[in-house]
């Protein structure tokens, strides 16, 4: 039996949560409701009236090969961002865990990228890789690679993945480092005495013990790549060339605000919303109970 604490009825608690409720209603529920409403309508070309069309917007969406291509592209993009940024941060955390002198300095440096706004991060990378001004295309040319992400879809994708991953490394790094420091030192020492070298120890002891962290970060990174990379894509490639870096979120923007297909764009945001909800539920269900141990 659960005993609950009873407080005398008072308006104070409601007053205290009111700001949060208001924010949620104004900035989330209201727009979400609006999107829901619009996703069932088609607006006429001049924005003078709209017609209720049931699920036509969704039907069009799911039969549109461009939308499906965007969907798979987004999956690829998310997977690449997760792998690149988690892989890099795992290696960095493994080194940071071993560093004794100057550890705080090293960690502070690694955490900096997190404090940079997405658009700025995008701008930095797009300058560094600018085909005529950037330093990296200069080096790449020496290696015989002709870099122009305004022309090549694959290069554009690589650059966006790089910029998005770089931004997320700091976050992953922090979690991995904390995870590693939570592993008892004696377990690692026991493995060393058992004859395991540093790499084997990392593979058979540290990595499995980090699996709850990895799982958590996988979800977080997926959500990040799906929904929080608009700024970077907008700054680096604007979804181009030829939609080769247009992800689902970016397509909502281009279809809705550039293509002015408000109904279709709203339908897309509803699909995205369902995905976020699914991911969040998944995370809450499985993160709470530990994966390993």
């Amino acid at each position: 039996m659960i005993k609950r604490v009873h407080f005398p009825a008072s308006p104070l608690p409601y007053l205290l949560v009111a700001p949060q409720i208001v924010i949620t209603i104004v900035f989330f529920l209201w727009p979400a409701g609006q999107a829901f409403y619009q996703s069932f309508h088609i607006e006429d070309a001049f924005g003078l009236g709209s017609e209720f069309v049931w699920f036509e917007n969704f039907e069009v969406l799911f039969t549109d090969p461009l939308y499906l291509a965007t969907f798979w592209r987004t999956i690829l993009f998310s997977a690449l961002v997760a792998v690149v940024s988690m892989g890099t941060s795992l290696v960095l955390a493994a080194f940071a865990d071993r560093v004794i002198r100057g550890a705080t300095f090293y960690r502070t440096l690694l955490i900096w990228p997190y404090a940079i706004a997405p658009v700025l991060a995008g701008a930095i990378w797009s300058f560094m890789f600018h085909p005529t001004l950037g330093i990296f295309p200069y080096f790449l040319e020496m290696a015989g690679i002709d870099w122009n992400h305004y022309m090549s879809g694959n290069q554009a994708m690589a650059l966006v993945v790089l910029a998005a991953s770089w931004k997320q490394i700091a976050y992953n790094f922090l979690f991995y480092l904390a995870g590693m420091q939570a592993i008892p030192k004696s377990v690692i020492e026991a493995a060393a005495i058992d004859g395991a070298g540093p790499v084997y120890r990392f593979r058979t002891i540290i990595l499995p013990l980090l699996s709850p962290t990895t799982f958590f970060l996988l979800i977080i990174n997926a959500v990040y790549a799906f929904f929080d990379t608009f700024g970077i894509i907008h700054a680096v490639t604007k979804g181009g060339p030829a939609s080769s870096t247009t992800t689902l979120v970016y397509k909502v923007f281009t279809d809705g605000f550039i293509g002015l297909d408000l109904g279709g764009s709203a339908a897309q945001s509803i699909v995205l919303m369902v995905m976020v909800i699914a991911l969040t539920v998944f995370q809450f269900r499985y993160i709470e109970r530990k994966v390993e141990y």
Binding site: A190, I193, G195
Partner: protein, 358 residues
Amino acid sequence: MSKIKFDYVRKSYGPNEVIHGINGTIEDGEFVVIVGPSGCGKSTLLRMVAGLETITGGEIKIGEKVVNKLEPAKRSIAMVFQNYALYPHMTVFENMSYGLKIRKVPKAEIKRRVEETAEILELTPYLKRSPRELSGGQRQRVAMGRAIVREPEVFLFDEPLSNLDAKLRVQMRLEIKKLQERLGITSIYVTHDQVEAMTLGHRLMVLNGGNVEQFGTPIDIYLKPETLFVATFIGSPAMNILDGRLSDDGTAAILTTGEAIQLAKPLLSHKGQAIKLGMRPEHLIRCDADKALLYLNADVVEQLGADTILHANLGGSGETVIARIDGVVPAASGERFSFTIEPENLHVFDSDKGKRIN
């Protein structure tokens, strides 16, 4: 199996030297217990043997090999940690076979050895479980199993029983002793526990402030402590130490209260010097007032059933003396007791250096 040799082993952290040149040899198959107060360097010394700490100076030899620069994996040692250090994501079987797998022992051989070891340690029913499904004592046994299965030349134990409850500790203590005798593997065991120190090992190394105070059999150390530190550290309740001086002919110790206590042998070279006189609480014998060497006024009386611990002061002086009397002795605070002691149970120490002189 092999012997371990310490040759002027030192350890510093930056400018702080924590171990100041330790010498000693541990024979093949011998069980040596290292004991000392916290911070005396006993765990550090063990970890230096294991290769988990670097050796600042001197040499450690295992067998005929100097191991100073060897990786832990190459030293043919196995270690049991205080917190067990089991791999939490592996089953008992995987925990025990981890080291063998790395050494590329054939699968069938691994299975045979793990099962054999599990049999010895009565772990057979638990091989498929993960460590979190085991009790403290079982985990401890898995940790030992992991060490045994490797068939190392040397076992290192770092306070392996201090996380267990009192009853289990007694049981595991006996098991470790039996196991070491059965396997005959050279072992070093670090502890701060009196009973473990006295009962487990063939020899005892008493460490204090990074120096070896005494290295000998537990009984020798009990009967003939070489320094004041060893005298008060080994034995419970601790040895009573009284200020005094030797008589002018060197045959008796004279306490500050004036009593003269006859020594077993005259100490001619120290005649008239200031000394510290040590008497173990259990060596004080109650006697009639006319034969008494010491008169004690009881302050606190602790009844333990099997014996009675008397916390008393020496004949009205400020010096506290503890006496252990067999059986139940009805006594009240303030009551006066008379005690005598056999001359061979007296320990005489130099007052300045704290070294034994009798």
